[in-house]
């Protein structure tokens, strides 16, 4: 083992039922470096961390920690902590109802001679830890009195004080604002000086380039590579994460973009935002227009759509529908304005597995009418049959339980559900994820057909080709900010460059 290396993972392999979550992944961490672990959602970042910290058991591979003979297998977080590997997660894993000092020391409190907790000593030592890290706070106050950023830093302070050699920060910045992120980075750099090896898991590209020394990229459970930060410009990083070799990308020219006039303006969002998920954005959607939202997973694509739809509260700015300013407090308001949202997680938010295909289809329409104005059965059957035919849903009968259908057909049922409400504006969040090519094409065709009928759509997908085929305008998001719109020269290259941002690296 290299002198500087504090942690090596070799050939880590692990399977979840049916999926190879990690396939011979290597990872090396040196002391005094900040090492970004990058990859899209589902790439295996979290799983790798969990294998390291003992939450998941891995099947093959070895972990070595500096100063410990032989391979290391952790069985619990506590186990990992004892070996000098501490983790700070996205959600602060501290107790809000205890004081800052207790949170730093619980489980290892200083004791008096009688064996009782020595509060004085504990508070004194805590105050010192905080002062050393330039945090001037009263440690006797309850944790909940402090901001999320401070709590996050207290969690880090706890980890560091436990004499860790390896500090894992798993998406620590996702709920922090810019100011707070800056504070966190200062702390990270301080720790780096002290020789701690930091693993930084994040999907904010800006942040990676702001603090990291090295990047390891994972994709689909496999190692793509380890790169010093200087050798991996943004566009290449995005390409590595998405699995597209930049040179291979053939530009697909889109059709001549149809011109839209202001009279056709359907949705006009000005400065809408939701704290912590999406910064203020403007977005205009015309009648018959398909707008694509693109960006890496977690860049705020779904979040933007959720704010328009009222699933997340709009905290600033205004929304105009057909020129009228409207206030959407909840999805039902959006539905009444003729909007529909097809959520990306259809298992959790979309289908109701124990209801039949018919019941799932009429659900939104029924909700719109209100609970007490039940749709007559005859009408229900008509509607269900209409969409089963129109969308070619493959089901044994309209009374089959939806959970017995394949993923693609479930997706069609939900699509049918929204079409049944006859919306003017439909948001499709990853409508084609996890379904076969044939159905994908059908859904893409349907999107174009709906647009042709004068409906407006937001189309969100991770597959750029698919969006190029369907969208006439793309809005690009990065780190919760809408960074631009592309209307002309829609091509894979321009889109990917826009996603990566900081265009000067090439």
């Amino acid at each position: 083992m290299d002198q500087n290396v504090v942690l090596t993972m070799r050939g880590i392999t692990m399977t979840f039922p049916g999926v190879k979550a990690l396939d011979h992944v290597d990872f090396t961490l040196r002391s005094g470096e900040i090492h970004a672990l990058m990859g899209e959602n589902g790439a295996g970042k979290s799983t790798l961390i969990k294998c390291l910290t003992g939450i998941n058991a891995f099947e093959a591979g070895e972990i070595h920690v500096a100063g410990i003979q032989g391979p290391v297998v952790n069985h619990s977080t506590l186990d990992a902590q004892k070996k000098g590997i501490s983790t700070v997660y996205q959600e602060v894993n501290l107790c809000p109802n205890l004081s800052v000092a207790e949170n730093l020391f619980i489980g290892r409190e200083p004791k008096t001679r009688l064996g009782t907790i020595d509060w004085k000593e504990m508070n004194r030592r805590s105050q010192k830890i905080m002062t050393d890290l330039d945090m001037n706070i009263d440690v006797t106050q309850n944790l909940e009195e402090y901001s999320l950023a401070l709590q996050q830093m207290i969690a880090i302070a706890r980890a560091v004080d436990m004499d860790c050699k390896v500090l894992i920060l798993d998406e620590p910045t996702s709920s922090l604002d810019d100011n707070e992120v800056a504070k966190l980075f200062r702390l990270m750099k301080q720790l780096k000086e002290k020789g701690v090896g930091i693993v930084f898991v994040t999907h904010f590209l800006e942040q990676v380039y702001a603090v990291c020394d090295r990047i390891t990229v994972l994709r689909n459970g496999q190692l793509v590579g380890e790169y010093p930060i200087a050798e991996l410009p943004r566009v290449k990083l995005v390409a590595a994460m998405m699995g597209k070799d930049f040179d291979d990308l053939a530009a697909i020219k889109s059709e001549e973009a149809p011109a839209f006039s202001d009279e056709d303006l359907l949705i006009d969002a000005q400065g809408m935002s939701h704290k912590g998920t999406i910064k203020p954005f403007n977005l205009q959607i015309h009648k018959g227009e398909v707008v694509g939202l693109t960006g890496l997973l977690g860049s705020g694509r779904s979040e933007l759509a959720r704010v328009i739809y009222g699933a997340d509260r709009n905290q600033t700015g205004t929304l105009k529908v057909k020129g009228q300013e409207v206030k959407i407090n909840a999805p039902i308001d959006a539905m009444n304005l003729g909007m529909g949202l097809l959520p990306d997680d259809r298992k959790a938010e979309g289908i109701i597995g124990d209801l039949s295909v018919r019941e799932n289809i009429i659900l939104a329409l029924q909700a719109k009418r209100g609970m007490f104005r039940l749709l007559p059965m005859k009408e229900q059957v008509e509607i269900a049959d209409k969409y089963i035919e129109m969308l070619q849903i493959k089901t044994a009968s309209r009374e089959t339980l939806i959970r017995q259908l394949s993923g693609g057909n479930q997706q069609k049922v939900i699509l049918g559900r929204w079409l049944a409400t006859d919306p003017d504006f439909l948001i499709l969040d990853e409508p084609t994820r996890g379904i076969d090519i044939g159905t994908k094409t059908e859904i893409q065709k349907l999107v174009l057909k709906l647009a042709g009928e004068g409906k407006s759509l937001i189309f969100i997908s991770s597959e750029i080709e698919e969006m190029l085929r369907t969208c006439s305008k793309m809005a690009v998001l990065r780190d919760g900010v809408k960074v631009g719109e592309i209307t002309e020269e829609l091509s894979q290259e321009t889109v990917m460059k826009a996603i990566a941002g900081g265009g000067s690296d090439e």
Binding site: N93, L94, L98, G107, W119, Q141, E144, R158
Partner: protein
């Protein structure tokens, strides 16, 4: 920076304490002619509620973890029946019986705690089963109402007066009345202080708060959540058995219908005392005042003389509402601050 802010939880406790004093002083003013102002009235509240206080201490510990223990009333009935039948019918030594009762409490708590902690069953369900079991066992031991009179030592213990060196007065008949407490009050106060110190100064005590504050975090910070929960239920049942002995010393009898609904009084006392049902917040000092408020209300109703005793239930209900609303207002304020 050094000025200690009063946080909302301390605020709730202060409100409870203030409420008790307001209520008590009002009682003294209104019912002065009926002797409410004498020290003995207060001591009687303690005597009558000594058992409840022990139970409330245990209940607070369980509620701190975010759990609940509704088996306590039935367990007290079983304890009392065991003591009464043991002494009267089986002729057992009272001290041996007390130890036996405590042992039964521990075993009872172990089973419940295992189910909640390790099998991760809802505490409400587990302790409800415990409640049915204990109430049923009480009837199995004996269906009669059994009074304790034969065991001299126990009777003497129950009748023992511990006199207080101040607050004596001469009543209208010219007899000197020396205020006194019973042994049960001593037991209950010792329990109260012990649990208070335990919660403040031991790792187990702080773990109870941590588990109630955020279970996942507690696990992540390396605490043994399962064991902590197990211990909490053992403690609750054990303290409940101590309460059962106090209860028995007070009533000197065992019956199937004894301590019916006592678990609710204990929960009410804890909630009035500022313990959150969601766990993580609370203190036995609060619960102590909760018990006192409970006792004061029923004493006030009794002193009035013409009111139906059920009015004390209604008063407790109103107070509970008041405190729950207060708690949620404080929680809202805290959220808004962020």
């Amino acid at each position: 920076m050094k000025t200690r802010k009063i946080n909302s939880n301390t605020m709730l406790l202060l409100i409870t304490i203030a409420l008790f004093f307001v209520m008590y002083i009002a009682g003294c003013a209104i019912y002065a002619s009926k002797g409410f102002a004498h020290l003995q009235t207060f001591l009687n509240i303690l005597i009558n509620n000594a058992g409840l206080l022990c139970v409330a201490c245990g209940m607070t510990c369980v509620m701190l973890t975010g759990g609940i223990d509704i088996s306590v009333g039935a367990l007290i009935a079983m304890d009392c029946m065991l003591l009464a039948v043991g002494m009267e019918r089986w002729g057992m030594n009272s001290m041996v019986l007390c130890v036996l009762v405590l042992a039964v409490g521990v075993v009872f708590g172990l089973v419940q705690g295992f189910c909640v902690g390790y099998l991760e069953i809802q505490p409400f369900i587990v302790t409800m089963a415990g409640m049915f079991f204990a109430r049923g066992m009480t009837a199995v031991i004996c269906t009669d109402q059994v009074s304790i009179s034969a065991n001299e030592f126990f009777v003497k213990l129950a009748n023992m007066k511990i006199e207080i060196p101040f607050g004596a007065y001469t009543n209208s008949k010219g007899v000197l009345q020396v205020p006194f407490i019973r042994i049960t009050v001593v037991i209950a106060l010792v329990v109260l202080i012990a649990v208070f110190l335990m919660l403040r100064f031991t790792k187990f005590g702080r773990s109870l708060y941590a588990v109630g504050g955020n279970e996942q975090s507690a696990t992540m910070m390396g605490l043994d959540v399962k064991k902590t929960k197990l211990k909490a239920y053992v403690l609750s049942s054990f303290l409940c058995s101590i309460g059962g002995i106090c209860f028995c010393l007070n009533t000197m009898s065992g019956s199937v219908r004894q301590a019916l609904g006592l678990e609710m009084d204990a929960i009410a006392s804890a909630v009035i005392g500022g313990t959150l049902l969601t766990g993580g917040v609370g203190n036995v000092i609060g619960s102590f005042f909760g018990v006192l408020i409970n006792g004061t209300i029923s004493t006030l109703v009794k002193t009035h003389g013409k009111l139906l005793s059920s009015w004390s239930n209604i008063a407790v209900a109103a107070l509970l509402c008041f405190f729950i609303v207060l708690q949620s207002i404080f929680a809202k304020l805290k959220d808004n601050k962020k």
